[in-house]
């Protein structure tokens, strides 16, 4: 049974010890606000594990389980099926996992859950590296970004999670960003009311790992959208709908300049990154036109 030491506003306790300028907190608060108390969370180890609590103290007012790094979608599957067997189809079973737990080690279990169209909502907050363990590169780390395991800059592009998700023909998937919370809330709300496997991929810049002042998280996230490094889209019933066309598509100079992780990126890196972004966007536009 949950007893309150501090009565929180909303579903997350005050004083979360996420890094200054981290907006995972904002993702949790808004998602849980939209989803309501009839929700069960699955959180793997990682930055979001702060929201599991520690020992006998929880940090959220909804029930949940901290699973292993790679089996969030599988545990959520079990919970959803267990509820369904007992006639409960109303409780939202929600994963909130980082990029490492999703695109690297957790991709197999997520793929299985998507293929079986399990009735779960999977939210991946993407800070583009293993931040909680000290900024190690993940397959979500972009080209040229320096991490503690890609000190000279990552030589290859990031894995394209949302296209992998779309290839599973899930009923609903979307990207979102902490730069646009009303849009995030709208997408969580939409996902909440759809049955089947729903996936939200939310960009969440990391001041600690990306190397920018904590006050600039929203600015960095906006610039990611402006340059096309992060593309806002929705995928519903097989149709892709793109957000507003990026104002500065394929031009990453400003975006890179905001962050120390790109400080070693030279012109060739920026050209390659920009070209990849532009090519990917053109592909998505073609898909959206179908």
């Amino acid at each position: 049974m949950l007893t309150y030491k501090v009565q929180p506003k909303g579903a997350v306790s005050p004083g979360m010890n996420t890094c200054q300028g981290c907006m995972i907190d904002v993702i949790f608060r808004n998602a849980l606000d939209v989803l309501g108390p009839d929700t069960v969370l699955v959180i793997p180890p990682g930055c979001a594990a702060q929201f599991s609590g520690c020992g006998p103290e929880a940090s959220v007012t909804v029930p949940g389980i901290q699973g292993n790094l790679e089996n969030s979608a599988a545990i959520a599957t079990g919970i959803a099926r267990g509820f369904r067997h007992q006639g409960n189809e109303h409780t939202h079973v929600v994963v909130i996992a980082g990029d490492g737990g999703t695109v690297d080690i957790g991709l197999q279990s997520l793929s299985g859950a998507m293929e079986r169209n399990e009735n779960i909502l999977y939210i991946c907050y993407d800070n583009e590296a293993y931040m909680n363990t000290g900024v190690q590169g993940s397959s979500s780390t972009p080209l040229a970004a320096s991490t503690t395991t890609t000190p000279a800059g990552k030589p290859v592009n990031s894995k394209d999670l949302i296209q992998i998700v779309m290839a599973h023909h899930v009923p609903y998937a979307a990207t979102a960003s902490v730069a646009n919370i009303p849009d995030l809330r709208r997408k969580v709300e939409k996902a909440r009311d759809i049955r089947g496997c729903r996936v939200l991929h939310v960009m969440s810049p990391c001041p600690t790992g990306w190397g920018y002042p904590p006050a600039k998280t929203v600015e960095v996230a906006r610039e990611a959208i402006n340059s096309g490094a992060w593309v806002l889209l929705e995928y519903e019933e097989g149709k892709i709908r793109l957000g507003k066309k990026p104002s500065d598509l394929g031009h990453v100079e400003k975006y890179f300049a905001l962050q120390k992780r790109f400080r070693n990126a030279d012109e060739e890196d920026m050209r390659r990154a920009g070209a990849h972004i532009a090519e990917r966007y053109a592909w998505l536009e073609k898909m959206a036109a179908l």
């Binding site: 049974m1 949950l2 108390p37 009839d38 929700t39 069960v40 699955v42 594990a49 599991s52 609590g53 520690c54 020992g55 006998p56 929880a58 940090s59 959220v60 007012t61 909804v62 029930p63 949940g64 389980i65 901290q66 699973g67 292993n68 790679e70 089996n71 599988a74 545990i75 959520a76 599957t77 079990g78 919970i79 099926r81 267990g82 509820f83 369904r84 067997h85 007992q86 409780t91 197999q108 279990s109 793929s111 299985g112 293929e115 079986r116």
Partner: protein, 401 residues
Amino acid sequence: MSVKLFDGNSAAVEAIRLARPGVIAAYPITPQSGIAERLADEVADGRIRAEYVRVESEHTAMSVAVGAQLTGVRVATATASVGLALMHEVCGVAAGCRVPIVMPVVNRSLASPWSLWCDHSDTMAERDTGWLQYYCATVQEVLDLTLCAYRIAEHGDVLTPAMVCLDGFFLSHSMQRVETPSDEEAWTFVGPYVRKNMYLDPEDVMFVNALCPTFEHTEMKYQQAVGFERAAEVTKDVFSEFERRFGRKLSTVECYRLEDADVAVVTIGSMSGAARYVADQLRAAGVRAGVLRICMFRPFPAEEVRQALKNVKVVGVVDRSSGLGAAQGPVCSEVKAACYGESPRIFSFIGGIAGRDISDISFRRIFGELQEVCEGRRDVCTRWFDASEDAMNIREVETPC
């Protein structure tokens, strides 16, 4: 009660069906595949009213099982060999979260070299993961021990998951006569699953398995250790009740002609029948031979083993896994520790690896060596009793290490 013909896999499925699980997650692996298939049939035909999750790996199977049982339903899964190895991480979660899952494991050798056949290297590698382990000698025991395992694992004083281990092919694919309780008889014994301790329910909020600080981690492990201690007692109680209801005796350890034995072998799993057969032959020839079969390996019934063996002069413990790098095989280590301070001389025998049959010939040889020790004609036994003479010349090993 009726008599049916089951192979080990079907007996496991029948026990699962009788326990009425709500969620089933299974991934096929030889020699367990029959369980995954037949559970799907049972669900498709409405004989089990459960959600069947066609998972993409054993890791996911155990993860689904943990998540589902935490919502308050009994779950089912089964695996073998490398599948169990892949599950290992999540097996620890089930144990530490005190989710009393019952899982048949069809024993098969771990890679490498690849093998499809039986030994205990898979479950022995899990022996300290926090799961109860029962090893079956017959197909009847697959059914009986699985039914009992639900009662033991789910007991409020135990809350510890259980593996029911059945030898691949020797039991899983061997058709045997099985006395089978009716649905009603079994249900009055097993009963419905009642969630205890940790669960997921929006009406009663708790966060399960968050980071556990050092100041209470030791205590959480201690609680598991106490769970094992209680499991030893609960197992005996449940076996007694089972015998009263169904008339079949189950034992944590099975003593066979040990009372006055000079020499004895300790066995585990399906090899045990051959050991008893040879003991009978030796008895007929005037040799005082006996057999101790270990059925419950976790918790290890150390005191019972000590009592059973303390007056035997020479004991050979037959391990069906290699125990690489250890002073002896894993079962032998336990037996030696249990008998520490007692007089029997104890020898480790390792064989039956990857499906090599442990026949009456093997046991005659083992008993023969034990007798020679007993008579002072031998000091060392042939540990790898069924390895070929030219073992070092197989494949690319050119220089003896």
